[in-house]
Amino acid sequence: MTTVVLPEGAVESGEEAVNKKPRGGVGSTVLMTIAALVWISPLVLLVITAVRPLSDFVAQGPLSWPGTFTMQNFSDAWGIGNFATTYRNSTLLLILKVPLGVFVSAMLAYALAKLRIRFGAAIMYTVFLGLTIPIYITIVPVFVMARSAGLTDSLIGLIGPYLAFGIPFEVLVLQSFIRQIPDEIVEAARIDGAGAWRIFLTIVLPLSAPALVTVLILDAVATWNEFLFALILLNSDAHKTIPVGLLNFQGQFSNNSTGLAAGILIAVVPILVAYTFLQRWIVGGLTAGASKG
């Protein structure tokens, strides 16, 4: 926690050390494999259930291998679950919110780490305290604010609260990363006549790329998954995001297990794919910032 390393650094080097002895450890490998199978089994069952007809599921039970395979559940779930709309809304929110949030957080992080801002410690304390605040303490005033601004049932109304709740973690990770940029580099640019803004854009941001990517990914996951603000601020189907849409869908499909499984998969597949490909950054970022986005 004291120092933040390049996200991939800590994890990868340790792996090499272990991989020096690829043989042996049969006992732990077997034990861990069994544990991993148990852990992943809900998702495996979900996939198996989603690709079989409901009649097959009912006749043979949830733990059997499908007698026939079908993709019909996915097209049914896609239509009834309104996923075309919720996907669009969630994606739009992601594009509007995540880069903006990371950018303003990086600016604050730069001010804290390199610009010797007055009351820096007090600002940091106040911002880090935000990590501990549950969302529900803010929902009544946020709802009132959105209503008086005419921004209920609008994705735009979500952006402010989403930004605010993302800032503490982003600032925590980014400022400790920016702090490690050698002062000499910043100083040299300043002597060459570069202003603070230019130093930020051409030196600090490029050098912070690993931390920025990590924070972008974690913030994207958090934004995609956010539920409570979306629940209270959005009412019409046309404006719902994936988590709220999935909740409605779950109610309608409570007796159609195969359709429900397909719908859940539709909602989580983008996150699972992104996680699988980007896990190095996610793992590094969590270890560096030691907080959950």
């Binding site: 340790g14 949830p62 304390y125 303490i137 005033p141 930004l163 400022q175 998954n225 999935l246 907080s291």
Partner: protein, 295 residues
């Protein structure tokens, strides 16, 4: 950090800090303080006006059996969904740090549930727990344990436990990752020296691994506790606080009061209580973070 202004500081620094701070104060600090104000009123959440009623909402909470139940559930939730994932995460990390094949894949598997939307986790487990079509009862029946098959989420005795199992499923990965990173920072020479001295694996765990993980313990436990107080999504989407009030926590009971029973003043008072507890518990952590980073 509070050194006198240098040529770099001053207004320029504030200009960089301003956008994020503005958003943070407008949409987090101000609403949180505003809730504190509402908690002293009888506002219903709809009418234009309200009366200031002092501490009446707080006094009413003592007589509200659901608040008592919710507070107790929050406490149980905090203990169980912190202790179990932290211990399991530690065990997994120690095993993964040893001689195990397929380590990257294993690590991927255990952290996967943590990236899913909580609503989807609730859907998945709600489906697994389904009394008729759920995999859990099907498994028990196929194992000849028909007597154990039951409506897990539909009865008082098992509902809270069932939701906590889902929480444990998704929360094991986080401590595992942090412990894994911390374990890789422990000097391997220490283990070799201990082996030469004839120390067994168990002794090595208690005398080298555990002391080496002390900073990690602190961070893992602090963050898990902070996270546990935020519980809302999983309960709301899985049981809606039910059956009856069996799985109500302060977050959900606050929500129901505000948005179903039109008692915004009372609801915010509930939120204030749990938030104050959460902050009080987390202050040492926040202070240590600030000290480390501002140093």
């Amino acid at each position: 950090m509070t050194r006198a202004r240098t040529r770099h500081g001053g207004l320029v620094a504030w200009a960089f800090a301003a956008p994020a701070l503005l958003v943070y104060f407008t949409f987090l600090v101000y609403p949180a303080l505003s809730s504190l104000w509402f908690s002293f009123t009888d506002w219903d959440g709809l009418s234009p006006g309200y009366n200031v009623v002092g501490l009446q909402n707080y006094a009413s909470m003592v007589d509200d059996p659901v608040v008592v139940r919710a507070a107790l559930n929050n406490l149980i939730w905090a203990v169980v969904t912190v202790v179990v994932p932290v211990v399991l995460g530690l065990v997994l990390a120690v095993l993964l740090n040893g001689k195990v094949r397929g380590k990257p894949l294993l690590r991927l598997v255990f952290y996967t549930p943590a990236v899913l939307p909580l609503v989807s986790v609730a859907s998945i487990w709600g489906w697994l727990y389904n009394p008729e079509y759920g995999a859990i009862n099907a498994f028990l029946r196929s194992a000849g344990l028909d007597g154990l098959a039951q409506p897990w989420l539909g009865q008082d005795s098992t509902a809270l436990g069932a939701t906590m199992v889902a929480a444990i499923w998704l929360r094991v990965g986080f401590p595992m990752l942090l412990y894994l990173a911390a374990l890789q920072g422990i000097n391997p020479d220490l283990y070799e020296a201990a082996t030469v001295d004839g120390a067994g694996r168990w002794q090595q765990f208690w005398h080298i691994t555990m002391p080496g993980l002390r900073p990690a313990h602190y961070v893992v436990i602090a963050l898990s506790v902070i996270d546990s107080f935020k519980v809302f999504d999983l309960i709301y989407a899985m049981t809606y606080g039910g059956p009856g009030t069996a799985t109500q926590v302060m977050g959900t009971w606050m929500y129901f009061n505000v948005f179903q029973y039109n008692q915004a003043g009372y609801g915010t008072a509930i939120a204030v209580v749990i938030t104050v507890v959460a902050i009080a518990v987390s202050i040492p952590y926040v202070r240590s973070q600030t000290r480390e980073h501002a140093a």
